[in-house]
Symmetry: C2
DNA sequence: AAAACATATGAACATCTGTTCATATGTTAG
DNA sequence: CTAACATATGAACAGATGTTCATATGTTTT
């Protein structure tokens, strides 16, 4: 996240001005890039991935998830909060229990693509 | 990543055994879930996201990327290593300079879906 | 071979992140 | 209202992560 004043990397010999001019305008603004990284950070934790996978099957209450994943209620609750803030998960209350479910289909697509990627690469690596 | 011996969360009243039995077999094994989280961790950093976006346009050498992102050569090189280990990026050497490019199309798909997600949610949030 | 250049890498440091523990909030039953 | 239950949350701690700095590796030129 830190930015240098001006990167003095190498002589401009290496830098190709046409490329620089072509790339710069295509870049989304900093805010979007930041938000995007934040979103993927949410996917970048085993516990949260497991929670999402569990919710693929059906909506579920906090204690069910905790039981399934063999973790404390507190840990799960903390992670659900993060998933909810990222709008990957939504909740509805029914009496004492709160049911969580997937918020939209991007979750499936993103995770699906991620899975494809690692499957493919593992195959290549171990063949 | 830490696992509890046995989560003593709530009475089994709340836990629905049918759900547990249904979900458990659908879960990918621990190794895949771990690898998947590791993959998304790679996407979960602004610098790396920016590098990937830059590479959407064309292959590029390290110092070009550093210049474009206004960061040190060292920082970029470290991040490129991570991207390469995740097989998101590949490199080819041409004399002194090393050119990096996207390794496959999952990168575009994943980032594209991520973008769609945040666009949609921002719209909903601010409407 | 030596100098110059592009890239890679190890160690150190500050920051961020996930879990735990204790406790607060919210809901229903008695 | 009180007790019991389900969930949420704040503080603290340990472990992970990204950048910097110094330096090493690899390549070309002279």
């Amino acid at each position: 996240m830190a930015k240098r004043d001006h990167a003095e990397v190498c002589a401009e010999v290496c830098t190709h001005p046409e490329i620089l001019e072509k790339v710069a305008p295509e870049m989304p603004d900093e805010e979007r890039l930041y938000d995007l990284a934040e979103l993927f950070k949410v996917f970048g934790d085993t516990t949260r991935i497991r929670i999402l996978y569990v919710l693929f099957e059906s909506e579920m209450c906090v204690c069910d998830i905790a039981e399934l994943l063999n973790m404390t209620q507190s840990a799960i609750s903390h992670q659900l909060r993060i998933l909810k803030q990222a709008r990957l998960v939504r909740s509805r209350r029914d009496g004492k229990t709160v049911f969580y479910s997937l918020d939209d289909d991007h979750v499936r697509t993103v995770i699906g693509q991620g899975m494809e990627h690692i499957e493919e690469k593992h195959g290549r690596k171990r063949a």
